[in-house]
């Protein structure tokens, strides 16, 4: 990885070497969402397939027709269609947490991680990650609550101003600050997750403490790169929606499906990129040196025959000064 010392380039390279993860997460995403949308699909077909009025939803997006559809008791319960969608979206989130250790291991590896190793990492680190997520949830929830509370107070004060534009300006600045703070917290826990997995750290609190120190010391460097990748995601989203609106005719269902799914596939990349950057940072800065005690002898060493690559804790791609010590 010597040629990719930069966080952005290093992270990107790791993602590109492991494109299959993006593909499989996309498959997971679309499969779960399809289950979530199945209820809506059935109700929509039952309600629309034999109605001439449905053309109003097909040829353009007539908001009135869509609202009317949801209003009709014959369409069925709104909760009946929103509930499953939210549940399956939540399931995607949990499965992401489950498979994340394998992804981190794959990113750190210099070779293609075998399936068994991938899932072993997932299994080994599941409860550690859940513990980490609980801590992250508490910290991020508390900070977000405090920040939004403060934001609300400032908003209220700004709303009293006779300058109408002060409120949107305050809102923009406030939300930007909240975004940056939350991103910093995200970086902290991304590093902690990486440390837990790659260091085989059972004591989650140690990874949290260690990552906090690193986040604090390298905040500018890490935050800048996380913000860049987030902006990339935003650009991808806006550009994708614009292309969808501009070039897909209202009744072009197949093209709409293609564009929307391509967009969602691309939207997965920035977050993986951030994970790749976290792994790169970990390998460059957080790996603990391991003291290797061995006597110098003239007898040549015989390398052991390995069926599988050596397991963690130290990934083969660790920096040379660590490996050689």
């Amino acid at each position: 990885m010597a040629e990719y010392q930069g966080l952005l380039s290093g992270g990107w390279h790791r993602v590109m070497r492991n494109k299959r993860y993006i593909f499989w997460f996309y498959v997971l995403n679309v499969a779960l969402a399809w289950f979530g949308a199945a209820g809506f699909n059935r109700q929509a077909h039952d309600f629309l397939d034999h109605s001439l009025l449905a053309d109003r939803a097909l040829n353009g997006f007539d908001l009135g027709a869509v609202v009317e559809m949801f209003m009709q008791p014959e369409f069925g319960s709104i909760h009946g269609v929103t509930g499953p969608s939210l549940h399956f979206a939540l399931l995607f989130f949990f499965l992401t947490a489950l498979f994340l250790p394998g992804v981190l291991m794959g990113f750190a590896s210099t070779y293609r991680l075998p399936r068994g190793e991938f899932f072993r990492a997932c299994g080994t680190n599941l409860w550690r990650l859940i513990r980490l997520m609980i801590v992250a949830g508490i910290v991020m929830g508390a900070v977000a609550g405090a920040l939004f509370g403060l934001h609300g107070v400032i908003e209220k004060r700004a709303a009293e101003s006779t300058s109408e534009l002060l409120l949107p300006e305050v809102q923009f600045v406030g939300l930007t600050v909240i975004f940056l703070v939350m991103t910093a917290l995200r970086i902290w826990f991304d590093l902690a997750e990486t440390d837990v997995v790659l260091s085989d750290q059972r004591a989650v609190r140690r990874s949290i403490a260690k990552s906090f120190g690193h986040t604090w010391r390298s905040l500018g460097r890490l935050l800048g790169r996380y913000v860049v990748t987030t902006i990339v995601a935003a650009i991808v989203l806006v550009a994708g929606l614009w292309l969808w609106m501009k070039f897909v005719p209202p009744a072009g269902i197949i093209r709409a499906i293609f564009v929307s799914q391509l967009l969602l596939l691309l939207l997965l990349i920035p977050r993986f990129w951030q994970r790749g950057m976290a792994v790169t940072y970990y390998l460059q800065n957080m790996v603990q040196p391991i003291a290797v005690v061995q006597s110098f002898t003239s007898t040549p060493l015989v390398a052991p025959t390995m069926v599988e690559p050596a397991p963690v804790p130290i990934p083969p791609s660790a920096p040379s000064e660590t490996a050689g010590s």
């Binding site: 009135g64 014959e74 969608s85």
Partner: protein, 689 residues
């Protein structure tokens, strides 16, 4: 501090008035046990009205493009008001001249004191807390945000000071804490044809904006801010309490109003400005005059930017368009002027002339609950600093409020009892005008691939509360705020749009024009309106009005089932009938159902697979009907109301049925749904893992 001040003033006043009330009740024996309305029986401090001045109502025409008065003028308000911007209050004297054209002696006069609605125990607040308020969360309401309207003294010229005779009454709900109506019993009745002059000293404290009146920051909208006499209507005084869902009702007349405000204020008001004088105390006095109007409103803010060079050349003369904009909205001023001008053009062309010399459009303080309101020759719009071109909120609000110059301003119906006659008829004309200007299906939203029409918006507003209330009932008797809105605005608009399908669009247009010209500057009833439509169309429409206006029946027609099969199916089967045989005669059945209890004849279009179309008529009398055809073709679709003229059917989707499924629309919407579901999952995973 304010509370203590109130107590010091209030306790002795209550003592004095308590005694006078007891004496008065004993003598008069009022059934409603009214409460004293004035704070003190003080003498009027200002100079008495000159007895040499002839008591009459001026026949001035300064505010209108007409050489003669256009209304039967019953009132003349002369108000001299000073606005204290620091406490958002007006201290004023009001001389009201009333011409008794009732044909009988009047021994008492009720007055609206609207601003007393903004007190915790008022009927307005009680109802708003139950029904919901779009303006304010009452649980966070502070005392400094209350409003009040206090008569300091009231003198009847020739009868002396009658302040002590003022009694609060609650004719609608008996809520003793409600002080929005005060009744004055005269010592000497006013004979038919006579004039009476009241000289009233009052103080109005505006609330923090509610119901399109009051202050926000350094802005104020002075609406319903002075004591207003009730309307003698159908042999009795009509003077309702102020309710959460009601608006106003008043007689036509002349207004001469002097407003003294700080010099830094930019002011807009009803009528025409006839004078401006800078005073030595850093205030200025602006004088306004209004003819043939029934209310007077004004606004002040130091930050308005004004455009007043626009002139509309109307049928009766030029109309100055004065537009007061918020600084952050200034780039939208042309947009506002354009829709105002186009609304004037459409209303003049379709309904009748706009006779006033001015129209003032106010873009009120942002987030102020003052947007979207109508007063004579004075309206408030509503917009935001961010308002994309394809989002037509400013156009909708301006058009709607301008429409009220006709349906409320000139055709001055009783908004307490027949709210549908101003809001609903206005919503109907709003749909017509906006359809014409912005397009039938694009008059609310037209951008980013999304469209939404005003017509559909009104229908959906109705459909959400279709079976709750009838149109024809008092505005304060609706089940809820949503029901009031959905029925009064949405249902009325939908009912009148549907009426076009019954009598024809041109006939409906003539009826509306006739109604306006016949009843402008009067107080028509619902039957005046309905009879005008019947007269112009030459048809008995009671069957429709009884259901649509007076009833709460709901319309829901449905194509229940469509089937086609070979007429000689038995023989065909034996002779190895092939399904695609073009000589096969099919027997086709189309079943229609009337699901709701609203009965109305409808047209039905049946299409066959040989491109043949058949139009049928169903009277809807029975719950269901069936059409049978024998043709060498199968039915491919049936559609009720194929021209989409009926706006009151609650469910338009079941009005048609195609034998072949078209899976594309559902697939398209499912793709949207899938996209959102996937995206939510990704967003959750982004932040939480």
């Amino acid at each position: 501090m304010k509370m203590r001040w109130w107590l010091v003033l209030f306790l002795p006043v209550v003592s004095v008035l308590g005694i006078s009330l007891a004496v008065h009740e004993h003598a008069v024996g009022l059934a409603a046990r009214p409460q004293p309305a004035a704070s003190a029986a003080q003498p009027v401090s200002t100079a008495p009205v000159s007895s040499s001045k002839a008591t009459t109502i001026p026949d001035s025409t300064l505010g209108i493009n007409s050489p003669t008065p256009m209304s039967q003028r019953i009132v003349h308000y002369e108000i001299d008001a000073r606005y204290d911007a620091t406490i958002h209050a007006v201290d004023a004297t009001e001389v009201l001249t009333y011409h008794n054209l009732t044909g009988q002696s009047l021994d008492h006069f009720p007055f609206h004191l609207y601003q007393n609605a903004f007190q915790p125990n008022s009927t307005f607040v009680r109802e708003a807390k139950i029904a919901g308020s779009r303006d304010i969360a009452y649980d966070e309401w502070e005392e400094k945000e209350y409003g009040s309207e206090e008569i300091k003294s009231l003198e009847v010229i020739g009868q002396g000071n009658l302040t002590s005779q003022l009694q609060y009454i609650q004719p609608d709900d008996g809520n003793k804490a409600d002080k929005t109506v005060a009744d004055l019993r005269l010592a000497k009745p006013i004979a038919p044809g006579e004039y009476v002059r009241f000289k009233i000293a009052f103080q109005t404290k505006f609330p923090k904006t509610q119901a399109r009146s009051g202050w926000k920051r350094d802005f104020v909208l002075g609406g319903q801010w002075f004591p207003k006499v009730g309307v003698w209507w159908h042999g009795a005084w009509n003077c309702h309490q102020y309710h959460a869902t009601t608006e106003f009702f008043a007689d036509f007349g002349v207004y001469d109003v002097k407003l003294t405000v700080p010099q830094f204020e930019v002011v807009g008001a009803s009528g025409v400005k006839v004078g401006e004088l800078n005073n030595s105390d850093n205030t200025k006095t602006l004088t306004y005059h209004g003819d043939d109007i029934h209310d007077f409103a004004w606004t002040a803010s130091p930050r308005y930017k004004v455009k007043e060079d626009g002139v509309f050349h109307g049928q009766m003369g030029p109309v100055q368009m004065r537009i007061l904009m918020q600084p952050a909205h200034w780039r939208q001023v042309e947009r506002h002027e354009k829709i105002l001008r186009e609304s004037l053009e459409h209303f003049e062309r379709w309904y009748g002339p706009y006779p006033y010399k001015t129209i003032t459009l106010v873009d009120p303080e942002p987030d102020s609950a003052a947007g979207g309101m109508e007063y004579p020759t004075f309206i408030t719009g509503e917009t935001n600093w961010f308002m994309p071109d394809g989002l037509y909120l400013p156009e909708i609000v301006v058009e709607h409020e301008f429409g009220h110059q006709y349906w409320y301003g000139m055709v001055a119906t009783n908004e307490f009892e027949d709210a549908w006659m101003d809001e609903g008829i206005n919503s109907y004309t709003e749909v017509k005008v906006l359809d014409s200007i912005l397009g039938r299906d694009t008059s609310m939203i037209n951008g980013a691939g999304v469209t939404f029409g005003e017509r559909e918006g009104q229908r959906l507003g109705y459909a959400s509360v279709a079976d709750v209330d009838p149109i024809a009932q008092k505005a304060y008797d609706y089940y809820s705020y949503n029901s009031y809105g959905g029925i009064t605005y949405g249902k009325t608009a939908s009912v009148l749009l549907t009426l076009e399908s019954i009598i024809g669009e041109d006939t409906m247009a003539r009826a509306m024009h006739t109604y306006f010209m016949k009843y402008r500057f009067t107080h028509p009833t619902k039957e005046d309106f309905l009879k005008t439509i019947e007269e112009v169309s030459g048809r008995d429409l009671r069957w429709y009005f009884n259901q649509a206006i007076y009833g709460s029946q709901v319309m829901d027609y449905k194509v229940l089932k469509v089937e086609s099969f070979p007429a000689n199916w038995y023989d065909e089967t034996k002779s190895h009938f092939r399904k695609d045989d073009k000589n096969t005669v099919y027997r086709s059945y189309v079943w229609l159902q009337r699901k709701g209890d609203f009965v109305m004849p409808v047209e039905v279009e049946i299409k066959f697979d040989n491109d043949e179309k058949v139009r049928e008529h169903w009277d809807g009398a029975n719950r269901w009907t069936r059409f049978v055809y024998e043709k060498k073709a199968k039915v491919i679709s049936a559609e009720i109301d194929p021209d989409h003229k009926v706006q009151i059917d609650r469910n338009d989707f079941n009005n048609s049925f195609t034998t072949a499924a078209n899976r594309k629309p559902a697939l398209k919407l499912t793709n949207y749904w899938l996209f959102v579901t996937q995206w939510i999952g990704q967003a959750l995973a982004w932040w939480a893992v």
